[in-house]
Symmetry: C2
Subunit: 602 residues, 2 copies
Amino acid sequence: MDYKVPLKDMKFVMNDVLEMPEHYSKFTKGQAAEPELVEAILGEAAKFCENELAPLNKVGDEVGCKFEDGEVTTPPGFKEAYDQFVANGWPGLCGPAEYGGQDMPQSIGLIMMEMMISTNHSWSMYPGLSLGAVKTIASHAPQELQARYMPPMVEGKWTGTMCLTEPHCGSDLGLLKSYAEDDASLTEDGAYRISGSKIFISSGEHDMAENIVHIVLARLPGAPEGIGGISLFIVPKFNVNEDGSLGERNGVSCGSIEEKMGIHGNSTCVINFDQAKGYLISAPHKGMSAMFTFINESRLGVAMHGQAHSEVSFQKSLAYAKDREQFKGSKRKNPDRPADPIIVHADVRRMLLTQKAFAEGGRMLNMYCGKMVDIETSADFSDEERHWADAMLAILTPIAKGFCSETSLEATNYGIQVLGGHGFIKEWGMEQEVRDARISQLYEGTTGIQGLDLLGRKILKTRMEAIKPLWEMFDEFIAENRWNSHAKRFKAYYKSWKSLTRSIGMKMMRKDFDELNAAAVEYLMFSGYVTLAYFWAKAAIVAEDLIEKGEGDKDFLEAKIDMAYFYYHRIMPRTEALAASIQNGARSLMEMDEDHFVFLDA
Amino acid sequence: MDYKVPLKDMKFVMNDVLEMPEHYSKFTKGQAAEPELVEAILGEAAKFCENELAPLNKVGDEVGCKFEDGEVTTPPGFKEAYDQFVANGWPGLCGPAEYGGQDMPQSIGLIMMEMMISTNHSWSMYPGLSLGAVKTIASHAPQELQARYMPPMVEGKWTGTMCLTEPHCGSDLGLLKSYAEDDASLTEDGAYRISGSKIFISSGEHDMAENIVHIVLARLPGAPEGIGGISLFIVPKFNVNEDGSLGERNGVSCGSIEEKMGIHGNSTCVINFDQAKGYLISAPHKGMSAMFTFINESRLGVAMHGQAHSEVSFQKSLAYAKDREQFKGSKRKNPDRPADPIIVHADVRRMLLTQKAFAEGGRMLNMYCGKMVDIETSADFSDEERHWADAMLAILTPIAKGFCSETSLEATNYGIQVLGGHGFIKEWGMEQEVRDARISQLYEGTTGIQGLDLLGRKILKTRMEAIKPLWEMFDEFIAENRWNSHAKRFKAYYKSWKSLTRSIGMKMMRKDFDELNAAAVEYLMFSGYVTLAYFWAKAAIVAEDLIEKGEGDKDFLEAKIDMAYFYYHRIMPRTEALAASIQNGARSLMEMDEDHFVFLDA
């Protein structure tokens, strides 16, 4: 029951569905991402993940991180695997060449990220957070700070974190209290003194890197209250001398690590800042907007967490379903044995196909987002193209994050369910998938926050302008495939989504925020189902075309067509329930007095 | 964030919704279940559970059971709490008076069981399994074996288990291999020699009782193959002398215990039988039908596992939602503070009300089943009444087991979600609810097995005869309340259920087992939603009547009416998706070749 990197599907998604080779041919910077090179990178990445990371996944869960005297020890083997990762040059795969990176398109790093998460979610978060920190520094920090911090981070010698949450504020960052003091005696090196306590800092302290670079939200002296008074700082664990060498320990310490449901191998830290030297990297009070570089990157990462767990659960429960024999099928598979493998049973297939729909459908969605990231961040594209990609990401990021994480809850639980009682036993590893995947619906903004971002901040606040790029793509797809049965099925659901969106928009004319909040999560899920329906229809059409041309592996391609059929017939009906519930509005949610939810005095 | 036994709701369900006082007044055997006595019992039971069991729930999870040299040590405090439980006389609450019990109606034991599960699921399974064993022995064993085994079991000095599953067979018990040998030299005491290995035996070995009585499925010599060749035996851990004293150790040993996702405080054992003395308690080869006494009792118990976890998660996340302040509500609750408690937000309310709907709705369903158990098992009712109660249980047991366990997955995960990142941290206890509840969808038959039982074995095999008692009750309810808005809403969904059932019945005329299997789980969930809709409509009507009469706590009763409104407007739309998916049939599930589910060679 080992997971194997699904290279064949990854190549189908990249080469056939998303036409990445043509896309990569437009890049001029760094090494050209020629198809052979991309294939070689994916192959090597798969080997690294299967050979180095997968064997550490169980021990990471069982031993977890240890905390003693402010130091975190990662699980056995984690540091050695990280050293290997750095020695192989993986951290800089998509990093800027001027700081030692290989300048490959971001999407290639993302597809490798799926492999790392699938084989070892906890481990993947040490380099994963670093990538977001690097991108944030590259996008916002002044040149001199970039020159000092980027090279060792791109190399992987140092890692990074994002420090947002405080004990009293998670979703509502406007309440944030950490603050910067401007110490006049220190202005020559531009340092502020940062104080405050941050919680839930993933990879916040560990033994894998020489230095840890925290990207920290805090308030400047005299800052306004609320979200518009927050600034962004670099705060290193060890101060960095002008020549890049490490100086003395900064006023940053790890207070404790959390005992959690899952991802035991990743350190979730309380990080205390006590007059720590910090360097402003956003405009004053504009820290949230700068931090969104990091947050958006991380949200896409979390979408991949969800999708990756769906894939692993699918592969492992599939292997079990082909092996375990219980009951006879309607058509006997093993006529000479007392029972057939359980994959012959319709209900087991229903669970497996649902996992597959979310795993492979989520891959198409997330890799499409990766393509948008490529465009958004590359100077090889026009301003118009980059603006378009940015707009596409604005709408797709909350959908991908919310939908892929929520569906991983279902897919990983089916992973247990297919195994029956055995799924509940630790030995099989299925329950670890559930526990590790569970964080994806929480961090980087809960599903509720993603729903509000999508429906409120993006769609309604822009009077539906924000959704136009996606809908235009859908319109084009339908126009191009007007006679195709998959596209016709898609069209019907897409029309429902549009009309549902408009009807919520009408309600919101009354500025009733409760209606927005009452609809948000179900609307997000509806959007996710329709967006995946687009990708499944597209995959089926691509498969039909290839079969017609006599190209590709016919069995593989036919399975894609079968999957689209399954997705439309057994998954898409869910949208009817979501629409009906949303249309019933907020009243039934808001009516009960909060003191009447429960009466515990007899 | 402590759980408190919801006595007020329990009393509403028992006294007002289910009219249990009138029902109890029909009992003549044993002590009469007068309202004052029932109230006193519930109050004492609540104290025991809150004071003795709740404090052991976390340590049970953290320390778990230990296995060494064939012996199981339960978590610290478990044995002491059990001693207290026995000293208080709780094990015999509903046991037969002739063997030392108090002969209270079974439903009173069930409501106490909810409290025990809520405060400590793992612990509750030691006495819980015993109750099923007692009932099985009382129903099937010859008088002489009853006289030997019942008194210490009713007293609680000995506990019981059920031994079905073997390594190669769980759902498909027809494959069972354990066997009995008839040793002629032993026939004078009627013992067979039982050999075989059983797995997943809950409470199979532990340090809380003097003896453990296993109820074991095995094959007699020369038995036919398959399910029709299995017999049922009593196999004690220690042999029992004629005078009831303990003899030497029987050939029963615990080979190991499982490391599991949850319920760490309950020992899940491999039990090996090696020529162990065992006593036949079913007719030869009719063991499965006798074991169904135990299985059905246990399935109802598992329905309560699910429902209890929904209640606990609801109470705890509600307490957090009233305390945690994030964002301002549309109407300010704390105008002088920077944020309001999150219970003001519609999406948080959506999660809380969903938990409440399943917790309190599930309680009505399960306690109604308890009422049926009372009737089915009491000589104070006519044969006709007992037959009717038995028929009602046949249809309601798979619905209650499947639906309450599946909805606990959702409700406990909302428990995490309401707390955001804090829900993922062990300290808050919410993630333990998810892990402990997760077993409920698996043991005593997975949800898939419940679906097949309901739709296949019960409804279709009897050409819908089996569902008649329930549907007649619904028809009566609609006729009695024809002008009531709740009943009108119910009627619409009930009609959909009937027509869905008929349309599946039509398909099955073609004897297409795949269609049955493809529909089973979604049909089960549809049935559960409609059945709970009946109870919510009934609760609302009862509440309206009481308010009109000026009786009861108006706030409490109005909250019931609000809940029914919520349930119909935000939960019942789900049935539309289920019906649409079922109607799309098996084709999309069966089409893919099993070797084409995944292509892992690139």
